[in-house]
């Protein structure tokens, strides 16, 4: 009876987060993927966290030195601080690659494979074309269309010379 009363509380979201936290011993462990993460993106130049999360002893010392005047830092130290903060520079993250060749090649391969399938289909699966596709029939059909003067301005009949009885050059 009491257990079912608790379930109705869960359905109504009547158990507060603090109660849930206390049930877990006051320490809420977030999964790694739920925490702010580092990204190398052109359109997000300042990521939420630094690239290196756990600094070594020398890196910690360097971070202390960073709190003083920056002109005292050497070039290598500045680069080291940059590498702590960022994984790849803009030039590195934007570098081109040869991936497009793989993509185009694979696409052409599969198009070719499809072409083979279509050839086999035409040869072994499809029946014959209708008789209206025979050369004689198409000739009779075209003659009738010219007699009807189909599309005499821009289309079929405009390409036929009615005086010389032949196609216009």
């Amino acid at each position: 009876m009491l257990a079912t009363r608790v379930f109705s509380l869960v359905g109504k979201r009547a158990i507060s987060t603090s109660v849930c936290v206390r049930a877990h011993g006051s320490v809420v462990k977030s999964e790694d993927y739920a925490l702010p993460s580092y990204v190398d993106r052109r359109d997000y130049p300042l990521p939420d966290v630094a690239h290196v999360r756990h600094l070594s002893a020398s890196q910690k010392a360097l971070k202390e030195k960073e709190k003083a005047s920056w002109s005292s830092l050497s070039m290598d130290e500045k680069v080291e601080l940059y590498r702590i903060q960022f994984k790849e520079s803009f030039a590195e993250m934007n570098r081109g690659s040869n991936e497009w060749k793989t993509v185009v090649g694979t696409a052409m391969f599969f198009i070719g494979f499809t072409a083979i399938l279509i050839i086999l289909e035409k040869r072994y699966v499809y029946g014959p074309l209708p008789h209206t596709f025979d050369k004689e029939w198409v000739a009779m059909q075209t003659k009738r269309m010219l007699d009807l003067k189909v599309n005499p301005i821009d289309g079929l009949a405009s390409k036929w010379d009615y005086d010389k009885k032949e196609w216009k050059k």
């Binding site: 070039m75 009738r144 007699d147 009807l148 003067k149 005499p152 301005i153 821009d154 405009s158 009615y162």
Partner: protein, 75 residues
């Protein structure tokens, strides 16, 4: 790598520059397309129509069609 000094990149006005370039470009391309369409499609079509209808005789046309035997109602 550290010895060569790179020129300072443009820091401000990037959107304005992008917008100006692309506005002018889009305008020019549109005008080009319009001109191309007018002179490659519209004018020839108008000419074809005027050429046909300048000396068009409907009765003669229908007479030719009748002789060709396409009408079902008159032979």
């Amino acid at each position: 790598m550290a010895s060569k000094v790179l020129p300072k990149p443009q820091m401000h006005g990037l959107l304005a520059k992008h917008l100006r370039f692309h506005m002018i470009g889009a305008f020019m391309v549109s005008l080009g397309v319009i001109a191309l369409y007018k002179f490659a499609v519209a004018e020839p079509r108008k000419k074809a129509y005027t050429d046909l209808y300048r000396n068009y005789d409907l009765m003669k046309d229908l007479e030719e069609m009748r002789k060709a035997g396409i009408f079902q109602s008159i032979k």
